[in-house]
Symmetry: C2
Subunit: 441 residues, 2 copies
């Protein structure tokens, strides 16, 4: 938890640098809110038992609850909002500890809701993602695509509208299985004819390895593709986004990748995924995109019968995966899990009441202090407790010191004999002496 | 969440001052772990639906999961531990918003596990409770009792062993209903004869209003009572505890109250409840006690067939209730929910790219900065955004400033005309100037 809390506070500091506020939503939502939002993964949702009352399920992510929250607010205040949330989500999945995949795990989301001019919030979300991953020293790159570019690819290749989402999920598997397997799935399971599959292959497989500028050039010269209105919208969005990312000095982290599809149903614009480039196995560590219609599913309609939606763009950082990378790097011995600064040590006759009075004085001064909760603790046990928790200072008290209103202060980080039994200070100077030593830690 | 997070960090700072570490436990536990621990309130536990796999329930408090955790650790490390946890618990109860009673709510627990000399950890837990409630400026007093004093009262009054827990729950209602009603419940519902009920009444009702010292004197002079071994143990514990609380300078906050019973089954020693004395309605804001046998219920037995228990003492702070008291005091207008320090304002022609470059420079310097995500925002809208979020400084940029590599910095807290359009600084001095202004906030 010490490592985890430091990870959370590093990331949330970045969010707050960008003016974000945090909200809290319940761990369970009405079951209807969650259904139909997660494609094939809906089977992983945990339900609460029927004990009377509403049918509820545990939240599967933080995005759908945020959209539900925005729809419920209804007030003008919620129309524009930068929010972050670090909270647990629940999936009835097969746990894989080494990949940081659990049934209950933290997610860390940042989203910008509201109507702004094109691609400005999208650029800020990607900037924040880069800053957050840099702050925790992860090597990564971001794969970028656009739902409307993908849709245009499927349309110009000849996929019928009702098959687009299902063909899209097949393409989404290209980072795990080969093109020939994906092609087979599209043809055998999803009934696509081979010429259509091959046309899709030209874009999602044939252009692999091209850099972002070459890819954009290629697409813009493809007259059949650019005749599709979705294609024009998608390409223009990506070009404007890259312009802004250049100003934010993160353009080189982002790579257009036409095979990135993202399984979730609710994305409508750009989509992206951060993958770590440091080691194999962990893979995706953050993902997100623009979802302009999700809030509208919960918010009812306006006088014209249109949903009162609020456009949103956001990212979920898979903090458990980041955490498992950080833990693999950590020297566990060196993690100091408590913050204690001073340990009271008695020499000789126990002196319980005197130790309690001393520790009380330190607490009152705001110093993090502790003592052995025994009437007559052995000296070596007290030193051992001090060592174990890596407590930097000891206040030593014995009968002689008490008689002269003194204590001895010892710097526990000095392992040689230079300081002997510590420095003797007058009891009334103890707090000031300790405070100045602590200030230099 | 801004008020809530500041409440949490105030309280957890106190816990850390005492050397506590935090742990995290899952939101659901195996159903068996929770059953039989909460007396009559077990009906309030939320169950997960049976979707295959283990039968699970949502946690009802943080104490039972902590005991389960201690039992599972098994290692010597976990034998002595100061832990705190701020997390949500779940109860299928009728919500009462004004009292801060919800179905999902945060609890804030501090516990000391392990074998120490008598009453030392008990005194530290009460000291921490006092310091935590003082730190959030709540007026309170602590009612104290001891399970063994209560048991002795019931025994010397003639209650049979198997009825003690049920009679104890009846007595627990004395802070809500009158003695005559409690007496009626004991006689009618629980079949107690009147002379036994009256004997109990002498202690739990007849001694009301006596201060702690008089009560202890009374009990110690009561020969029939002191002939009971539980009574002797209980009275001696309380006397030693008060001696330690005196050293910790919180003795005057604690009042022995023989009618305090606490409904939960797992307490074995001292029990206590903090009630706020500032206003009516909220009542109990923290409660706890010693529970020496709970870990043993999960830990199996040793070679002699005895449970391998770990004695514990702790407290749960009802942070939702504290939160509702704090919110009632707050001037909502004055809560600054985001931390933004600088807002970039453009005068004239939009200057989107220039504003983005400026905000990027501020972010890089770690300054919390924001700008209006519009191509050509109106000046008054930018000032309004600045006002709404109470952002202290504005960096103003227009065509003239750009041409001369300058910006203007305006202190938004100064409402009169003294600073005109702000102070002009060279672009290269912007960060340093802002940093020194922010340092003086």
């Amino acid at each position: 938890m010490t490592v985890r809390n430091s990870l959370f506070s590093t990331i949330t500091n970045i969010f707050e640098r960008h003016g974000a506020v945090t909200i809290d939503t319940p761990v369970f939502e009405m079951r209807d809110i969650l259904s139909g939002k997660y494609g094939e993964d809906s089977k992983l949702i945990y339900d609460l038992a029927d004990q009377g009352g509403e049918a509820c399920s545990l939240r599967y992510d933080l995005t759908v609850p945020f959209a539900r929250y925005l729809a419920m607010q209804g007030k003008k205040d919620a129309q524009q909002m930068k929010r972050y949330q670090v909270a647990k989500v629940y999936r009835r999945d097969q746990p894989i500890m080494t990949k940081g995949r659990l049934r209950e795990f933290f997610q860390c989301d940042f989203d910008i809701a509201g109507v702004y001019d094109p691609m400005i919030p999208d650029a800020e979300v990607l900037k924040i993602l880069c800053d957050a991953l840099d702050a925790v020293h992860i090597d990564f790159k971001i794969k970028l695509n656009h739902r409307q570019i993908l849709d245009a690819i499927f349309q110009v290749s000849g996929v019928s509208p009702e098959n687009i989402r299902s063909i899209s999920s097949a393409v989404d598997k290209l980072d795990k299985i080969s093109w020939s397997e994906v092609k087979k799935e599209m043809m055998v399971e999803k009934g696509l004819d081979e010429s259509t599959a091959d046309k899709i292959g030209v874009y999602v497989e044939g252009l692999k390895g091209k850099d972002t500028n070459s890819l954009l050039d290629y697409l813009q010269k493809d007259q059949a593709f650019m005749a599709n209105p979705s294609a024009v919208k998608g390409v223009n969005d990506v070009k404007l986004l890259l312009e802004f990312l250049d100003i934010f000095q993160v353009k080189d982290r982002v790579h257009l990748d036409l095979s990135l599809a993202r399984g979730l149903d609710y994305y409508t614009g750009i989509i992206y995924e951060a993958v770590q480039t440091e080691s194999q196995g962990v893979g995706s560590i953050a993902a997100g995109g623009r979802y302009d219609d999700l809030v509208g599913m919960f918010s009812g309609t306006n006088k014209k019968g249109q949903p009162k939606t609020i456009p949103c763009v956001g990212v979920s950082i898979g903090v458990e995966r980041v955490f498992s990378i950080l833990m693999a790097r950590q020297n566990m011995e060196k993690i100091k899990s408590n913050a204690t600064q001073v340990y009271i040590v008695s020499v000789g006759d126990g002196l319980l009441q005197e130790r309690m009075a001393l520790v009380n004085e330190l607490w009152k001064a705001g110093i993090k202090a502790s003592f052995m909760q025994k009437n007559k603790p052995k000296l070596e046990k007290q030193w051992a407790a001090c060592e174990k928790d890596q407590i930097p200072f000891a206040v030593i008290v014995g009968k002689d010191e008490l008689d002269q209103s003194q204590v001895r202060i010892k710097d526990m980080r000095i392992k040689d004999a230079t300081q002997g039994g510590g420095t003797t200070v007058h009891r009334k100077d103890m707090i000031e002496t300790l405070k100045s030593k602590i200030a230099m830690l």
